[in-house]
């Protein structure tokens, strides 16, 4: 699977990327070739009728084709066979460009579905029958509760739970992640395996947990195929608007014919068709479905699986993001961020002691303490390899090292260490320890006391560490008007400090998982759309309630079923990418609609004077572009109308450039770019084409 390299929240796509960008965006030549074939199939009227705007062009081409055969079909006309033929050709090409855009957008989804389907049909299983023998059956014959054995280099036939064994499994077919993961019996996450993934070491005994046809792989195939077919709510609304605009322009143009005949102004019906096609919003009509499909596709390329385009669109709409602290805002573990000696102890001594105390501490906190101390000047000492480690226990709540030189170093919770030094060494607790402890707690960090031979030397400060760039991202969300709420089981002090540091809008501390549901309902009651991530079974109700629920692939099945999106990378931060993808999808539609309609102004001025040049010569004053002849004026407008489609295909597939800005700023920018640009571009384009035509005509 191609993974996008650029972050959608960061500026990436230029306004109109050159064609080579298509390849860079993952639309390589096999997809282009396939799209060429598929685009021809889409000329089928049964498919065309689903897109009313392009269907009108298609019908128009039929009319002009008839006029090519017999130019006087609808009455006397000066138009030649050739001219009508050229008009017909341009119309057919216009439809074909639209087909091509859609086919190209669908291409990768189709390819993905085909490859998944291929995997799924190839699956076989070694089922364990009652007497312990193994029989080889097709994976589709497996039922819930069957036991199967999977050996090294075999594909796991069906979703299931590991009963016995430990093995590395390559899940890249689903997640795209090539590093294998370990699977073993007994743990919530690591015991569940997915059909289609490959065991690459040892063997596993698995109990099947999915019914035939309902495995994750099956669902994934269904999603990839169906998500593209459903139109999103805004897409439907826009289609309605575009269809009515099309109808209006058909009426407008058709109403000219009787009036022209009254004025004895001969009018070529092919020219009227040309006027209709030029005025109806073909640009957006041709690209609308490609934009939607590409949006879903982009979600997929960010390694997220959407149950429908609706979910992606809704992501662009969310007002409130509910974020877990751990894993989303902060990296999973706390890290040492300061060493604070008590009065009378040198910093160097504390640093050295903190390092030595962590020699045998393999927890992430311990490793981070050792690393931090080394950076601060601690040095390994001779004979430390012969030291004896004391592991952390729930009873003592301390760990440490006994060094060969007789030093006994301990670190642990401040109250435990205090008790330890008074009870074992009868040493006083330094008077400023309480103050230090409080100082650390106020900063939302956890203090650990360090003692050497019964002397408390100072405090290690363990802090939550924000993920890189999280502050910027929260800032971007705020400029977009999205509220962020952090939910954490931590105490309010810690939670508030983290929230302030990361720049979150609200924090819910000491929260139980059920409280997410309450929180979502509260936000929704105020009319807000809510997005959240989750992985546990107890997240499932909240994931289902949220407007956008993003489940982690490593999460439990109920969570994945309740959510409308699944992140195969299991990275909760991706929720932010999802927002960007959703917005980009909407913006692309709005921008191209504006562009398409703004184009009409120039087209009126190109075609209207050309229609009646003999009967009403005065109208040539409207020919502001100074187009050479009526024929070349009409053809230029039509050619511009057709060519703009392939020129904008890269934009439709990649989405317009998106920057996290306030609505005002975005509106101004896109209005200038696509509104004013859409007004001006066709004047230039049509004039240039007209100049070009003058060379051949």
């Amino acid at each position: 699977m191609n993974r996008p390299t650029a972050h959608p929240l960061s500026p990436q796509a230029p306004l109109v990327p050159p064609a080579s960008h298509l390849v860079a965006a993952g639309y390589g030549s096999p997809l282009l070739k396939q799209a060429l074939v598929d685009s021809l199939i889409k000329f089928d009227p049964r498919q065309q009728v689903r897109n009313p705007v392009m269907f009108v062009v298609w019908l128009g081409a039929l009319v002009t084709a008839a006029l090519t055969v017999s130019p006087t079909l609808f009455g006397p006309s000066h138009a030649s066979h050739l001219y009508n033929g050229v008009v017909t050709a341009i119309l057919v090409i216009t439809v074909w460009f639209a087909n091509f855009a859609e086919a190209l957008a669908e291409g990768r989804g189709k390819a993905k579905a085909a490859s998944l389907r291929h995997t799924s049909t190839e699956l076989h299983a070694r089922r364990i029958v009652a007497d312990g023998r193994e029989e080889t059956v097709s994976a589709s014959a497996l039922n819930k509760g069957d036991l199967v054995r999977v050996e090294r280099d075999e594909l796991i036939p069906m979703d299931g739970e590991v009963i016995d064994g430990i093995a590395y499994v390559d899940e890249s077919v689903i997640t795209g992640e090539s590093a294998p993961v370990i699977k073993e019996a007994g743990s919530d996450v690591a015991s569940s395996v997915t059909g289609g993934t490959k065991v690459i070491s040892d063997s596993l005994l698995i109990r099947v947990t999915a019914s035939p046809g309902d495995s994750f792989l099956d669902r994934m195939i269904r999603l990839v195929e169906s998500a593209q077919r459903q139109k999103t709510p805004n897409e439907i609304a826009l289609t309605v608007l575009l269809s009515v605009l099309t109808l209006i322009f058909v009426i407008v143009a058709a109403a000219m014919a009787p009036v022209a005949s009254y004025l004895k102004a001969q009018i070529n019906v092919a020219d009227l068709v040309a006027l209709i096609v030029a005025l109806i919003p073909t640009t957006i009509g041709a690209l609308l479905s490609a934009i939607g499909i590409a949006g879903i596709d982009r979600t997929m390329r960010f390694n997220m699986l959407a149950t429908s385009g609706k979910a992606v669109e809704a992501a662009g709409d969310v007002h409130t993001l509910i974020l877990d602290k751990t894993g989303t805002i902060t990296v999973g573990n706390r890290m040492a961020t300061a060493l604070l000696p008590v009065a009378g102890c040198s910093a160097a001594r504390l640093t050295q002691a903190a390092y030595l105390a962590s020699l045998f501490d393999n927890t992430p906190e311990g490793r981070s303490t050792a690393t931090y101390a080394l950076n601060e000047g601690a040095r390994p000492v001779v004979g430390q390899d012969k030291a004896v480690g004391t592991e952390f226990s729930a009873e003592t709540r301390m760990s440490g090292s006994d060094l060969p030189d007789g030093r006994v170093i301990r670190k642990g919770a401040v109250d435990s260490v205090s008790r330890y030094v008074t009870e074992h060494y009868s040493r006083p607790v330094p008077p400023d320890l309480t103050a230090l402890t409080e100082q650390v707690a106020r900063q939302g960090a956890t203090p650990l006391a360090v003692a050497e031979n019964g002397d408390i030397l100072g405090v290690i400060m363990l802090s939550d560490v924000l993920k890189t760039g999280i502050r910027d991202r929260m800032e971007q969300l705020r400029t977009m008007g999205i509220r962020t709420v952090m939910v954490t089981g931590d105490n309010p002090v810690t939670a508030t400090v983290i929230a302030a540091e990361a720049g979150l809008d609200e924090v819910v501390a000491e929260a139980r998982p059920e409280e997410k549901l309450t929180l979502i309902r509260r936000e929704q009651a105020q009319g807000r759309l809510v997005a959240m991530t989750g992985d546990g079974t107890n997240d499932a109700p909240a994931l289902a309630q949220a407007d956008v629920g993003l489940a982690m692939y490593t999460g439990t099945m109920p969570a994945k079923e309740a959510a409308n999106l699944i992140d195969l990378d299991s990275d909760p931060t991706k929720l932010l990418d999802l927002v960007a993808i959703g917005k980009q999808m909407l913006i692309t539609r709005g921008a191209l609609t504006t562009f398409s309609i703004a184009n009409d102004v120039a087209k009126y001025f190109a075609i209207l004077p050309a229609l009646f040049i003999t009967a009403l010569p005065g109208l040539n004053a409207l020919n502001v572009m100074g187009l050479a002849t009526p024929q070349s004026a009409i053809l230029s407008a039509l050619i511009f109308n057709a060519l703009i489609i392939p020129l904008l295909i890269p934009l439709a597939l990649r989405g317009v450039r998106f920057q996290p800005k306030s609505a005002e700023v975005m509106f101004y920018r896109n209005l200038m770019l696509y509104g004013v640009g859409g007004l001006i571009a066709p004047f230039i384009g049509i004039k240039l084409i007209d100049l070009g035509l003058a060379l051949v005509m």
């Binding site: 805004n234 826009l238 407008v252 102004v601």
Partner: protein, 575 residues
């Protein structure tokens, strides 16, 4: 004579000031607050409530009930008007013993007046009895104006309703309150003013006089002042006299001319101010007012300047076209010498912008380029527009604009905190479709059928302009005529009546459905991610939407009418 721009500028300024004062008052009236007039009119309200039914006047209505009651009441009144017209010979107050109206013409007239259109295919003084003038003409001038206005009120309430309430108020209560607090006192006051200025108000028949030249002349009289004040206050436009406000007894002085302009413009403009107060967002109202104002200024200029400039043939003939103390200059054909160019063009622009339909000059005789903006204003129907419906028409463009703009900022579009989704877009699109359909289809048809062409007074482009104007006027419920077209034929009576109906009720029904849908939606709290619609930038966008989606749609039709005529005129072709 003062320079024309000064006359126009002062009129516009007066409109602005009047609408500010009136807007505040309207907001008080429509939100049920006390007004100074309450002690005077509360008893009348009580009487009317009892007449309609106390229960019916207090029950809150959702959009379906509101619309249904509005339609039913309109239908009942239309039937009444129709009966009065065809049986006027058997009804009292018919001093001239006029016969009952032809059924087809009565059908046309009933529809025309119940819809606030006031298209007249008859000549008032020679066709209608005094009773008919009062019961079939003046009465619906009140109710049709109030109907359009209260529909807009119901729509505005839908925007204010928080969290899924479905009630949009009570149709009868709104109708009665608006009539007794606004229309009735306003009409009364201005009727007195007009009488003072010399407009007749009598139940007597015509007077016969011997003129100074010894000729015999019959001067038509009747309850003119009463009808005229509501005619303009209610943006109705149907005159007592055939030539409407060009008649010296209907519009005797420059002061009455100014008063008529104030009457017709005050309520539609005040409605916008009222809207701002009702929604509690004056900025939003100013954006709307600003866009409407700029449109009005533009179209006004497009009318006044060519009229003042005159025509190439006049130039060639060496006529002085400069306005001076002794002559108005410009194209004076079809204009009253009393009013001159500025007042005539101003009146024409006002009457089409506020879709009133009363006229003080013959629009048929305007230059092609000066007559075109009049048509465009009716095609748009939202340059302030008529009572309520103009405002709603303006919102149609706004909703379409907000939909596309909302997508452009990456949000499901919202208007005033209400999401604009598929149901609204379907309904708004249909409302958008109606107008070009009912204007362009019948006017195109009329150009190829003998019963359509036989009514034309002029040939070629100008002939088409006459027909196009007639159907634009009908669809916009304006009622003014380009003249020249003989509209009293079965085809035009029927087609125009149908266009009036289709131009009036379907858009109202669609928009009431939008109101119902919006009212049921929660109001979303605004954030920086919300596209604001109360900024100048959005105003520009709104303006562009109206021009590109609204006005340009009619460009092909205009090209074959006034625009082609203009270019032909430049080469000295006349029609």
């Amino acid at each position: 004579m003062s320079p024309f721009w000064l006359q126009i500028g002062l009129t516009l300024l007066a409109t602005l000031l009047l609408s500010l004062v009136l807007g505040r008052y309207l907001a008080r009236v429509m939100t049920g607050q006390r007004t100074l007039l309450d002690p005077l009119f509360d008893p009348l309200d009580g009487l009317l409530y009892r007449l309609v039914g106390r229960d019916a006047c207090s029950r809150p209505m959702n959009w379906q009930r509101y619309t249904l009651h509005m339609l039913a009441a309109n239908l009942a009144m239309a039937v009444l008007i129709y009966l009065v017209l065809i049986f006027q010979n058997r009804l009292p107050l018919n001093p001239l013993k006029l016969a009952g109206m032809e059924p087809m013409q009565a059908f046309n007239t009933a529809i025309s007046f119940i819809t606030n259109t006031n298209w007249q295919s008859y000549g008032g003084e020679s066709t209608l009895s005094n009773f008919s003038q009062m019961a079939a003409i003046t009465f619906p001038m009140f109710t049709s104006a109030a109907t359009g206005f209260v529909v807009a009120i119901a729509f505005i309430r839908a925007l204010i309703v928080k969290d899924g309430g479905a009630d949009l108020g009570n149709f009868y209560r709104d109708l009665i309150r608006f009539s007794t607090r606004v229309l009735l006192p306003g009409a009364l006051l201005f009727a007195l003013f007009l009488i003072w200025q010399g407009v007749p108000q009598t139940l007597d028949a015509n007077v016969a006089v011997n003129t100074l030249q010894g000729a015999h002349q019959t001067i038509s009289l009747g309850p003119v002042a009463a009808q005229e004040s509501i005619e303009n206050l209610g943006t109705n436009g149907g005159g007592f006299f055939n030539v409407n406000a060009a008649h010296p007894l209907q519009n005797p002085t420059p002061l009455t001319n100014l008063a008529l302009l104030m009457l017709m413009s005050s309520l539609p403009a005040a409605l916008v101010v009222m809207f701002g107060r009702m929604i509690g967002n004056a900025r939003q109202a100013w954006v709307i007012y600003g866009v409407m104002g700029v449109l009005l200024l533009g179209f006004l200029a497009m009318t006044v300047l060519p009229e003042q400039a005159g025509t190439p043939l006049l130039h060639q003939a060496g006529v002085s076209l400069q306005a001076g103390p002794l002559q108005p200059g410009g194209n004076m054909e079809g204009k009253e010498v009393r009013f001159g160019i500025a007042q005539s063009a101003l009146y024409a622009a006002y009457t089409t912008a506020f879709t009133t339909g009363s006229v003080n000059a013959m629009h048929d005789s305007f230059t092609p380029q000066g007559g075109m903006p009049l048509m465009i204003q009716m095609m748009l129907q939202c340059v302030f527009g008529g009572k309520g419906v103009g405002f709603l028409g303006f919102l149609v463009y706004g909703l379409i604009g907000v939909f596309v703009a909302g997508l452009m900022v990456g949000r499901t579009p919202e208007f005033m905190g209400k999401k604009i989704e598929k149901p609204e877009i379907v309904l708004v699109s249909l409302a958008l479709l109606i107008h070009p359909l009912v204007i362009l289809a019948p006017s195109a048809w009329s150009m190829v059928v003998p019963y359509g062409l036989s009514s034309l007074n002029n040939a070629a482009m100008h002939g088409y302009s006459e027909v196009l104007y007639a159907f634009s006027s009908a669809a916009a419920n304006n009622g003014s005529a380009f003249a020249g077209l003989n509209a009293n034929t079965p085809w035009y009576n029927l087609a125009i009546a149908l266009v009036i109906l289709l131009g009036r009720y379907p858009p109202i029904i669609f928009l009431m459905a939008v109101a119902g849908s919006l009212a049921a939606k929660p109001t979303l709290p605004p954030s920086v991610g919300t596209l604001r619609t109360d900024t100048p930038l959005f105003g520009v966008w709104w303006f562009a939407t109206i021009l590109i989606v609204g006005a340009l749609t009619f460009l092909p039709a205009l090209v074959l009418g006034p625009i082609a005529e203009y270019f032909a005129m430049a080469t000295h072709h006349l029609f």
